[in-house]
Subunit: 350 residues, 2 copies
């Protein structure tokens, strides 16, 4: 049972615990090379590993960051979790996983909980337009990286925002459709309550205007309360329902822009259920470029988010703030999205 302590290492090396501690904390320059050598040998021989709880109790810091996502069951967040954890591992950090299920209350509780546990850095994937609920903790020193959410006016001054340029991405997607000749377009999304949904919608509208199409003629689905009825994992269900609704109209769209890939896959499903064929009858564009996009039948045209880079940036910015301890200015990183054209889009029929 007995774990090796710093005291035992010190004894074995014939020095005091503080010298060992100095070595451990990167102050090796203030000791004789031979002392250093002896300590290192002792550490190796005994298989010593510092007790993190003790260290945290003493310093108030730890080597853990929190990740709050709507649900890791969703492949998009799963990919973020994977890459973030990878980046963290490389620097000796751990990742505490939290699924908010898009429940604002749960989101706040998690952050409180993390803070109480001594976690000072959190990557927060919140769809909430306001981050007011976490302000008290940010003022106390919590370092926050908002992921997949661009900076907003009321945000904490120290906030780091990391996101793809949603408007540009959506515009790329939509322009691709108008260039193929589509004129009756639809935009499918849950309630336009979150920041990035609004931005993507904005890009959609901008592309229509640029193509000389009156945005007022564009369709929005699901209409009414349907938009609120679905959580994150159920994005595909939302797409499916929206497709059914759109295809039942007098003049159904010939092309659909989906808020994300899971939603797009649901739309494709709905199109097939309506007896039509994706691409041939109705074009579909997604957003995210999850792994499945390339696997689907037909393969999905979509807007890629450079997830690996984004996750790596999220971690390194967080770490820098955690370790520098200086006053940290907020900043925002906007990654450039890329249109990936695959099989789910084609010119309109007639």
């Amino acid at each position: 049972m007995g774990e090796v302590t710093i005291q035992q290492v010190a004894t074995a090396a014939g020095v005091s615990p503080s010298t060992v501690s100095n070595l451990l904390n990167g102050r090796s320059h203030r000791m004789l090379p031979e002392t250093r050598q002896r300590i290192e040998t002792a550490i190796d021989k005994l298989g010593y590993r510092p007790n993190r709880a003790a260290r945290q109790l003493r310093t108030g810091r730890n080597q853990t960051i929190g990740l709050v996502v709507p649900s890791v069951g969703n492949p998009f967040w799963g990919a973020l979790a994977r890459h973030l954890e990878s980046a963290a591992l490389a620097e000796g950090y751990h990742v505490l996983l939290c699924n908010s299920e898009r429940d604002p209350r749960r989101e706040r509780d998690y952050i409180d909980e993390l803070w109480a546990d001594g976690v000072h850095g959190v990557v927060l994937c919140s769809s909430l337009p306001s981050l007011e609920h976490v302000m008290p903790l940010v003022e106390r020193g919590l370092q926050l990286v908002a992921f997949d959410r661009t900076a907003q006016a009321g945000d904490p001054a120290s906030l780091v925002s990391i996101s793809v340029d949603n408007a540009v991405g959506s515009e790329l997607a939509t322009r691709h459709l108008t260039e193929l000749g589509h004129e009756r377009l639809a935009f499918v999304s849950g309630a336009l309550a979150s920041v990035n949904r609004k931005e993507r919608h904005r890009g959609f509208v901008a592309a229509l205007e640029r193509a000389g199409i009156d945005p007022a003629t564009a369709m929005l689905a699901p209409s009414g309360s349907g938009a609120d009825a679905f959580g994150d994992v159920e994005a595909s269900e939302l797409g499916r329902a929206a497709a059914a609704e759109l295809l039942a109209r007098d003049e159904p769209p010939t092309a659909i822009v989906a808020i994300n890939d899971m939603c797009a896959l649901g739309i494709c499903r709905g199109i097939r259920e309506g007896g039509l064929e994706v691409a041939k009858d109705v074009s579909v564009v997604g957003f995210d470029d999850i792994v499945l996009a390339e696997l689907y039948a037909p393969t999905l045209t979509t807007v890629r988010q450079p997830m690996r880079d984004m996750a790596a940036s999220a971690f390194s910015l967080l770490r820098a703030r955690l370790e520098d301890s200086g006053p940290s200015q907020g900043q925002s990183l906007l990654f450039r999205p890329e249109l990936i054209v695959r099989e789910s889009t084609a010119p309109p029929l007639s």
Copy 2:
């Protein structure tokens, strides 16, 4: 900055820290109801939350479990992570996320690391047939739940194993195909190195025998070293390559049993790329029933693992062992898989 300490609560309530501690640790029966009342009031008023690091330093325990999966980027593991975290949250536990990327060395390092951090319970999703590498820690008291891996002869005596009955699942899948009239079947998997791959293959063979088909005529793909070339996230790539290989044969299979859903989706992709149609030309069955199985085109016939229940069991068994502290006998839980028939399977052409 200053967090509220137990000392402050004690002062506010006019008692000593030990009494507060007693209340906190479920020993409220040994104090006057009014004392208890006063303490609770003080806790509420001050917004006190016990410092976990201090508690852990003192007791050597914490409220965190580790989850080691090949990759949360894979929707199957993503789903496990989600449900496990949910179950943990309900009991005040946290989940530390670790992606092994199917690297045995990384797997072992993670477990060591977790142990050094005071994590005494881990849900391990290892494909390794032997758990020898973690034995030293298990002997020191690490509680281990092996997930998606049935109990093996050499396993630690205290191990809990949770898995679906792979052989039965695979047999259900295969029998479904033989009953449809298929006679030229193939089994697609990475190297049959892991426990559950072997079991699934066993079920496949058993079903063939029962149907009066000589297992020797069944095909295995990818052949040779191809089986080793892919990790976990790339299961779909493996399927895609295997499909290409199988379809190039003189007598290609009319039905394929895939080792899991991601692999099955890759196979479907490969079939389409070969100019054939899933179901009509070649039937495909998966395993797992990930969310995408129902979304795919065609929807995928597959074997469902009751993930939510399995994850909940994993957590509650782990917790029981963590908190009972008594000597814990090993046990294994085998969940019953369920065949979900969808569109990707049909009778053979002629």
